[in-house]
């Protein structure tokens, strides 16, 4: 009995944690697989959780959307969330993300490898964010082995930055990049 409730607690916890951290609604079959539980049981737990959140007057609920589960805000909290979002509190580009975007803007087209070499770190996650935001897009492929993708800034990027063409970016005047960066760009 105690064994069951421990297992029960673990399952509930896992579902809450996974759904909280996931960037997309998590499909019920995915949850079922991960927890090694029948789909019906997962649905039961989620319904139970939603019931508890409602009972406890939580500001969020767990909702089923397009076959998956996600957390979303309670409708009663709408005015607060709206104000918070409108003030731009949810939208911020991190320093490293902005720097990577700036490098792409000035050095395009560039490959993932070139960017990583310039930044000194793997840029995969940052690049993904920038592409998801629509600032950056694939603009071609390098004619070298494996045809790695080349990235450049998008039309939306120009619009958001409030300029018409890339020429309107302030000049990187008197700015000589370090030899290693030139090398990285040349090596490609």
């Amino acid at each position: 009995m105690s064994q069951t409730s421990e297992r029960e607690l673990e399952s509930r916890r896992a579902i809450e944690a996974i759904v909280l951290a996931a960037t997309e609604p998590v499909h019920v079959t995915v949850l079922a697989q991960l927890l090694e539980l029948p789909v019906a049981r997962v649905q039961e737990i989620c319904d139970q959780l939603a019931g508890e959140y409602a009972r406890d007057g939580r500001g969020f609920t767990i909702a089923r959307v397009a076959g998956g589960y996600r957390f979303q805000t309670h409708p009663d909290a709408f005015p607060y969330v709206e104000r918070f979002v409108l003030e731009g509190q949810t939208a911020r580009l991190s320093g490293p993300a902005l720097e990577t975007l700036a490098i792409i803007a000035y050095k395009q087209p560039v490959s993932r490898a070139q960017l990583s070499a310039i930044r000194g770190v793997n840029v995969d996650a940052t690049l993904k964010t920038l592409v998801a935001r629509g600032y950056v897009e694939e603009v071609g492929h390098e004619p070298t082995l494996g045809n790695p993708a080349l990235f450049g800034t998008s039309r939306a990027f120009l619009e958001r930055l409030g300029i018409d063409t890339l020429d309107q970016l302030p000049a990187l005047a008197d700015f000589v990049p370090e030899a290693s960066i030139v090398e990285a760009l040349e090596r490609g």
Partner: protein, 278 residues
């Protein structure tokens, strides 16, 4: 992905020195420095690429140790000046302080690492608002001014600042080996032997003692004198070879000691190619 520390290859000379000392593999002041150097070379060979910075820093530390050790080995005057003794401790304390600092941050990094590891088990929600809020949010780039964007590019592409070559650890060289050879030759008796200690009587500077020692080594190399030392750290006896056995002194070979060995300078000429000696 959890945080992980890479396998402990020694990063820099402090790391290595610390490791060697703490493992009690060496006692820097009592045991031959050759062992440290050997171990270091073994480590360097295992590195994928030799880091010039580490190697240079190690040379500096090794040189400091050699200097300290030489001071101890060379026959000292009985009336060792207090100042000099203090200076010796100062050198030693400086090194000690650096090693302690290195150890402190090594341990701090270890704790930081485990904290980062623990923290990474609590995954923050970064999803942001669901629709319809998502489309309400202003675009972050709209709030970025063009000059801030330029500044980001400059940060991202900035070269590291010029490296400054510190030369304050290079002692000015005031004694010339060539001069010392002449002095030693004058002091050598025609026959019989003399203790190295006696060849340095009245020499004030440790550096001069070292140079005189180098002069004796040079004379030994050239076959002018013979050296005897019956036990480790024992008395060094210098015996001039008989006229028949003696080889004429090759003054030209002294050139490698450098004509300007006696220059008063605390700078290193980095542009000079370093000659390889067999």
């Amino acid at each position: 992905m959890p945080y992980e520390v890479s396998t402990p290859v020694f990063e820099g000379p402090f790391d290595l020195l610390l490791h060697l000392i703490l493992k009690e593999e060496v006692d820097l002041w009592e045991i031959s420095l050759a062992r440290i150097v050997d171990t270091f070379c073994a480590e360097v060979e295992q590195m994928e690429r030799v880091d010039l910075d580490s190697a240079t820093e190690f040379l500096l530390i090794a040189a400091t140790l050699v200097e300290l050790k030489a001071r101890r080995l060379l026959p000292g005057r009985d009336d060792v000046e207090l100042d000099e003794e203090l200076l010796r401790f100062e050198h030693r304390d400086l090194l000690l302080a650096r090693l302690l600092e290195c150890k402190t941050f090594q341990d701090a990094a270890r704790v930081l690492h485990s904290q980062l590891l623990d923290a990474s088990r609590c995954v923050p929600r970064t999803v942001g608002p669901e629709e319809p809020f998502r489309s309400l949010a202003p675009d972050p780039l709209e709030r970025v001014a063009l000059d801030a964007f330029l500044a980001a590019a400059q940060r991202g592409l900035a070269p590291p600042p010029d490296e400054e070559v510190r030369t304050d650890h290079v002692a000015p060289i005031r004694a010339s080996v060539r001069d010392a050879i002449e002095t030693v030759l004058a002091l050598l008796p025609a026959t019989g032997a003399v203790r190295f200690r006696d060849l340095t009587l009245g020499v004030g500077q440790r550096l001069e003692v070292i140079v005189r020692f180098l002069a004796v080594l040079e004379l030994f190399k050239q076959g002018v004198v013979d050296l005897e030392q019956t036990e480790s750290f024992g008395e060094l006896v210098v015996r001039p070879l008989a006229a028949g056995e003696r080889v004429a002194l090759d003054i030209d070979s002294l050139a490698e000691w450098g004509e300007d060995a006696d220059r008063e300078s605390d700078t290193v000429r980095l542009t000079e190619p370093v000659e390889e000696h067999a």
